[in-house]
């Protein structure tokens, strides 16, 4: 495994952007039945803003020590690191399970309801283990290609839907209850998983600047807003009939006699989820402190697969796994609470 190479900060941010785009294309905009575009837009801006705040403790550690939080924790608390490592490893297994279940659900519902979903998950995880073997640098370089492809796919899907925009039946209103607001905010906050990833791998980046994160988050808001705008003003009530509205949006894109861009959607979601799970597996290795150990990646991938099997067979496990509130709470603990505790305890000895 090539783990000693430094990776460019921009490269990592591009992968974070791909990560966020996967969240938007695999999510359900109609989390609540009667929410309007404007309300969702506020949720997006607020969600991304909170996600940005989740970066702050790791940024402080990174700027003061040139280390990521995980290396910092290994250095400062070598005796208690087992607990921190175990928590982060389990958190990443949970996050990988969340994205794997969401992706396979989409695959099952939209592509092939009769396909063997276990084999798909197994093949995806195998590809991720191979990517982990190649290292974070190779994964994020692959992320650049996925990013280029995603730009092309989004441009085609959005521009192909301009003719379908409907401002007669739908307009810029504001409606939705408090619970709708919290639910939708939680959906958009799931991108904050990248703050935990940043806490694990930022030490390996060179030329890091805070503006890289700001630009990534701003680009994410623009993408989310555009995606929502088209889903609301093209699909309208039609979109409420279906899950994974972005898939339906890709199906309604049209250029002349060419109808439907769903193949682009499926390629993009598959490659993005591959990138997400690969980076998460790298983070698991980093959390265990054995970044060069492929066996560790294999063991944890197997654990993710077992969790996936449980989720497919037991509804209660699935409900826990795809619960955005649980994911966000755990993300808060991993990205903010634990790093803050470390900062508090070692505030005078951060640089030692």
């Amino acid at each position: 495994m090539r783990a000693n190479l430094k990776l460019s900060s921009v490269q990592l941010m591009i992968s974070f952007f791909v990560f966020s785009s996967a969240v938007i294309i695999l999510q359900n905009f109609y989390a609540a039945s009667d929410t309007s575009f404007l309300m969702n837009l506020i949720c997006v801006v607020l969600g991304v803003l909170i996600a940005f705040l989740f970066f702050v403790p790791s940024i402080i550690i990174r700027s003061q020590t040139k280390l990521d939080f995980m290396s910092f924790a290994h250095l400062k608390t070598p005796n208690a690191i087992i607990f921190t490592s175990a928590f982060y490893a389990m958190y990443f297994v949970y996050a990988a399970g969340y994205f794997l279940v969401t992706y396979t659900e989409m695959f099952n519902q939209k592509l092939n309801p009769e396909g063997n979903i276990y084999v798909i998950a197994f093949l995806l995880l195998s590809a991720c283990v191979y990517a982990v073997y190649k290292g974070i640098n190779a994964i994020t370089r692959c992320g650049i290609f996925i990013f280029a492809f995603s730009l092309l796919a989004f441009t085609l899907i959005f521009s192909g839907n301009i003719a379908n925009l409907d401002f007669v039946n739908y307009s810029f209103t504001f409606n939705g209850s408090n619970s709708d607001f919290i639910n939708n905010l939680s959906y958009f906050l799931t991108i904050s998983v990248i703050a935990v990833i940043f806490a694990c791998v930022s030490g390996k980046t060179k030329n890091f600047k805070i503006r890289h994160i700001v630009i990534t988050m701003a680009a994410t808001v623009v993408l989310f807003a555009l995606a929502m705008f088209f889903v609301f003003f093209v699909l309208g009530d039609y979109g409420r009939q279906q899950s994974f509205q972005f898939f339906t949006l890709s199906k309604s894109a049209k250029f002349g006699t060419m109808n439907g861009m769903d193949s682009l959607y499926l390629s993009l979601s598959t490659s993005s989820v591959f990138l997400i799970i690969s980076i998460i597996t790298v983070c698991i290795n980093k959390a265990t402190g054995k970044i060069k150990n492929i066996k560790m990646a294999l063991i944890f991938s197997l654990l993710i697969f077992i969790l996936f099997i449980c989720a497919r067979n037991f509804n209660s496990v699935k409900e826990i796994l795809i619960n955005v509130h649980i994911l966000n709470i755990l993300t808060f603990v991993a990205a903010v609470l634990i790093p803050c505790i470390y900062l508090l305890f070692f505030r005078r000895r951060v640089n030692e």
């Binding site: 084999v119 195998s126 379908n164 409907d166 009530d237 898939f247 309604s252 109808n259």
Partner: protein
């Protein structure tokens, strides 16, 4: 090098064997419906599926049913076991058809993931439905006419996405839908439809 090659072969083979590609069925052309018409005769609703075929003649299957959903089920059960609607492009409803049936059918179209939101939906008189059943080129002609109408009059809804949204719109009480007529040749016009809220 050999190990890498072996791994690649194993990966490709396992993808083919375990993902179901090995026993995938090639859907017979005669099972793919591109056009569906619905009309009412003697109080009964008849759905006709026009199938893709290489022959010169029009191949179709008609079933009596209350809705498109049950028509699909009955057609699969009794006549075309491998019926596929993934290439479904044109839906013609008799202009005398009860509006509730059209509404139910659009509800079905909107909820099925494999059906495109861009399926063209139009009303049609009895003659044009008869013309569809006789001429293989008729569906293409109808689609061209609908496109021309849309270019001329942008407010007319011609696909399932826009018709569905107009029906369920909270803002409008009426909307415009295309209507195909056939006398000596095909013609298309916009027709106002009132929606009870």
């Amino acid at each position: 090098m050999n190990r890498k090659f072996l791994c690649l072969v194993i990966a490709v083979m396992s993808a083919l064997l375990f993902t179901g590609c090995s026993d995938s069925k090639k859907i017979d052309k005669a099972s793919i419906a591109e056009t569906v018409t619905v009309r009412q005769t003697g109080g009964q609703t008849i759905y006709t599926f026009y199938l893709l075929s290489s022959s010169e003649d029009v191949k179709s299957v008609s079933v009596f049913a209350n809705s498109l959903e049950s028509a699909c089920y009955l057609a699969k059960e009794n006549y075309i076991p491998n019926l596929s609607l993934s290439k479904f492009e044109l839906f013609l409803a008799d202009e005398d058809l009860s509006f509730d049936i059209l509404k139910t059918d659009l509800q079905f179209i909107s909820s099925e993931y494999y059906l495109s939101p861009l399926i063209m939906v139009t009303l049609a008189d009895g003659n044009s439905i008869k013309y569809i059943s006789e001429s293989k080129e008729a569906p293409k002609e109808v689609e061209e006419h609908l496109m021309l109408l849309k270019n001329k009059n942008n407010e007319t809804d011609i696909n399932s996405l826009s018709v569905f949204n107009s029906i369920y719109s909270k803002k409008q009480n009426e909307f415009s839908m295309a209507c195909i007529n056939y006398e000596d040749e095909l013609s298309v016009s916009a027709r106002k439809i009132s929606v009870k809220k």
